[in-house]
Amino acid sequence: MANGENIETTPAFHGPKVPAPRGAAPFQWERGFLTAHSWLVYFFLYAPIVVLIVLSFNDGRHAANWEGFSFRWYAKLMENKLLIKSVKNSLLIAGATTVLSTIVGTLAALALARFSFRGKGGTQALLFLPIIIPEIVLGAALVTFFGTVEMRLSIWTVILAHMVFTVSYVAIVVRARLSGFDRSLEEAAMDLGAGPLETFFRVTFPLILPGVVAGALLVFTLSIDDYVITSFVAGVGSTTLPLQIYSMIKVGVTPEVNAVSTLLLLLTIIMIVFAQRLQQAPGEPGEKK
């Protein structure tokens, strides 16, 4: 997945950590090598994004050559009703998918971790399936299904389709968080008189929150950049940003696309900073990783 860098949940890399060396010379060498290597990795990840942002301020019509600084494309973007509408659609769909998938996925993870029931193994295997199935197959299957049940293609079919492949991610991430869960904390809460709901919201949920947030971020990024499945199931009034960008390619890509990507990137960064704040929120029992 192209958005791996957006879903980091551990604190950012603070420089190479190497075990205490015996002699000073190899230490220096290793350190230098690792620093260079880290910079190279960061360069590889972020250079294309920097180029994209810089070119969004390009005065020329073509992305390739620089013709001076201007906000021209941002102004043009604001007039492009179709593009604005597609951004709104994308945000609405990604937002709704995130909320719904996170709830369903978290509940599924809890059920799988806590209870044993008939067909549990099968359920777990089925949960992995939407991740493994090629998107194009899932897209074709979904549109055939919607056609069979006579469900009109709209923003709702897109949200449902996005839920199909994102619920699994949340379930897996939250499940991993639950595997190290100390159930005696819940028992203690109940001993002290908390009901099941109160126990969940004041003890269980805060403890699995980092997993839930990581899952939600994953869902948001997957949903907002999905092209293949969306192109199958989008209907009236639900053209998303990736669909709109692809359709603009027919008449040539202008820096408008760079401008809208830059704005979207800004939004994503704000979201990630917000999510990390949430995970580091004080006043919760237990340590955070």
């Binding site: 073509h62 050559n65 293609l153 209907g235 709109q244 027919k250 008449v251 040539g252 890509v253």
Partner: protein, 347 residues
């Protein structure tokens, strides 16, 4: 087991409810599904002002995407805009309605030479909207001589400066036309000749690109670009002393996008109103002036900006047009072509 049944029935019920909400039919809404940059907002506004019908505008990126959507049977589009070859496919799949010409008073504004094409012989399903050509864009500073033939694409002195569309049929058009054949040629011997030319040409081609050919030409990355006239006309208009677009004298591809009404359209009356509205001379001219594509509407010419009418990249001369053809379904010959194309691309 009982639990399972409860869950399944709840799901079905939920789906049913959602379907119910989505299935509402509205007489005052028209759902358009067409290419991007094909219709200015001002025209949509005028249509809404006059008829009170709200227009939803969705875009697609390929004819195949449109086909998939209509095949699903649950896409509520009232007006679509397929290209020539896709019209034949949509008609043969039974996905388009026959138009009611008593409701299309402005159909008479269309030039007869654009009607009754092979993809819809009696125009029962289509009203021509935009048309254009696939030709050559080139850099006048780098190619100072007369450029009027597909031969430049096969000229060794431009090695590494040539861009070809990443499209099998279009590349074969260039070779077939240079050899003096029809672009819908099916004779294996003639196809082999064309393939031989394209194989030799591969060493001269810098890149095969269907997405950003105009941008690469404008940026100076290539000096000759094989491409669709719409995008090339835009870059030529921005740098008229540097760039030019021509349709080679041998002729080339003609394309045409037409407005149609899908069989499952929900608001057929509004769709006819819209089809008629965009063929009003003033409205049609407003569309052409904003979008820089050629329209098949003859009556609109009086209102179209003369600069656009005289731009050979948009409205080519009629003698050039005489040698141009639509790309048609060539049946099994396409398999032969496909084999050659794979060989060329794998070289």
């Amino acid at each position: 087991m009982k639990r399972c049944l409860t869950i399944v029935s709840a799901l079905v019920l939920g789906l049913g409810l959602l379907t119910g909400c989505g299935g509402k039919r509205d007489e005052k809404v028209l759902n358009l599904f067409i290419w991007t940059e094909y219709l200015p907002d001002s025209v949509i506004q005028k249509f809404t002002e006059r008829t009170g019908i709200k227009v939803n505008y969705d875009t697609y990126d390929s004819n195949e995407a449109l086909l998939e959507k209509l095949q699903s049977g649950v896409a509520d589009y009232d007006v679509v805009c397929p290209s020539d070859y896709m019209v034949s496919i949509l008609v043969s799949e039974g996905l388009l309605q026959k138009l009611d010409f008593t409701q299309l008073k402005n159909f008479g504004n269309l030039e007869p030479k654009f009607l009754d094409q092979k993809f819809d012989p009696k125009n029962e399903h289509t009203v021509p909207y935009f048309w254009g050509t696939t030709g050559l864009g080139y850099n006048k500073q780098k190619l100072p001589g007369v450029v009027d033939s597909w031969a430049v694409l096969f000229d060794e002195q431009y090695q590494g400066r040539i861009l070809m569309l990443d499209d099998m049929r279009e590349c074969f058009v260039a070779a077939l036309k240079l050899l003096g054949y029809s672009l819908n040629e099916t004779d294996p011997a003639k196809l082999a000749q064309a393939a031989e030319l394209l194989k030799k040409q591969k060493g001269l081609v810098q890149t095969y690109n269907s997405g950003d050919f105009a941008g690469l030409l404008a940026a100076g990355d290539v000096d000759i670009a094989h491409g669709y006239n719409g995008q090339l006309a835009k870059v030529v208009a921005e740098a008229p002393d540097k760039l030019a677009y021509i349709m080679p004298k041998e002729g080339g591809t003609l394309w045409m996008d037409s407005l149609c009404i899908p069989i499952k359209a929900r608001n057929v009356a509004a769709a006819h109103l819209f089809l008629d509205f965009v063929q009003e001379p003033e409205i049609n001219a407003e569309i052409v002036n904003a979008m820089h594509y050629a329209s098949a509407n003859g009556a609109a010419k009086a209102h179209i900006d003369p600069a656009i009418l005289n731009d050979a990249a948009i409205y080519p001369a009629s003698e050039t047009l005489a040698h141009c053809e639509f790309i048609e379904d060539i049946g099994d010959a396409v398999t032969v072509m496909d084999k050659y194309w794979t060989e060329i691309k794998a070289q």
